[in-house]
Symmetry: C2
Subunit: 190 residues, 2 copies
């Protein structure tokens, strides 16, 4: 198994070499090029993905036809479109590579089987979901309690890597701001 | 075990009578009166709670001193403050009863032990977290893609019970709107 994923797992649970070896047999390597889609609106999301290296964005088009980025995934993050994956419905979101991206794909069709063979994986994903939930709840708090400028400052302080790697107009879209507003705030910060 | 919780569990996983009986031994009944706090800012959140009947709200005060409701919990929902519970840090949020509320308390100190005895509980909570995450991600989508009026209409269509049970100023706070704005939209709808 890729050392990044082993290290990641061990941050959440205790796992044996034998369990890692079984987990490994359920994972497939995948590479997508910058701008390539991992999932398109209308398709069924059938896997969870661990990003070894790269960056992807989950986005949809709002009713005015504007791209709205829901979230990003970067090195050492799991990414998927949960609504499509769990409810087995067509995805309303797209997942597209922002950079050339190397992933490990964990097909949902074998997820329960894997958890039965290696029960600690169930705990791993329960804990991942809890952390992911904490992060998104914080985001709701900030949307309502911080000004646009404060939100932008907070985002770049908390995610310095994104600010280097992701085009500014995408960060603006993620934060629900216009690119012009973000430019103005950036100029002010400098 | 309370029939509401049994029914709830069976929506997510297959569970035996024997497993339910063990789960039951980890749960404690709790009643809180309207306006009573289940958790106050600064305290450590130490349990997950299943609401049998009633309504609670999770809120904090923003930096202008305004109450911001992060979310509600109502009959047949699990509620907790995940950041405090999982990271074992003082809570930044309050949990307070909006109505007299009957709960089942599942102390986190015994959660791992319960999951070891009844592994299906781990799956149950993984699945609950996934559903909860889907709901909060939808909320982010709506915040950015719908107008205030559309958000309010969507909320009352999706949650008709809340609209009956929760004071209007709390719904306004949850949606990040002023009570005056919500009154105006409600008048328009009528």
């Amino acid at each position: 198994m890729h050392p990044n994923l082993i290290e990641y797992i061990k941050r959440y649970v205790s796992i044996t070499e034998a369990e890692i070896a079984i987990f490994q047999t359920y994972l497939h390597s995948k590479k997508i090029k910058k701008k390539e889609f991992l999932l398109k609106e209308g398709q069924f999301c059938k896997s969870r993905y661990f990003i070894i290296k790269g960056c992807v964005r989950l986005f949809h088009f709002d009713n005015k036809g504007n791209e709205q980025i829901i979230h990003f995934g970067i090195d050492n993050w799991w990414i998927t479109e949960y609504e499509s994956l769990i409810n087995q419905i067509p995805s309303q979101l797209n997942i597209q590579a922002v950079e050339n991206t190397e992933l490990l794909e964990l097909p949902e069709a074998y997820f329960d089987e894997l958890c039965e063979k290696v029960p600690i994986i169930e705990r791993l994903f329960r804990k991942i979901m809890e952390k992911t939930y904490i992060a998104i709840q914080k985001r709701i708090e900030y949307i309502y309690s911080l000004s646009g400028e404060e939100q932008f400052r907070f985002f770049i302080d908390a995610n310095p890597e994104f600010t280097q790697r992701v085009p500014q107009y995408m960060i603006a879209s993620y934060l629900g701001m216009s690119p012009e507003f973000v430019s103005k705030v950036k100029a002010k910060i400098k």
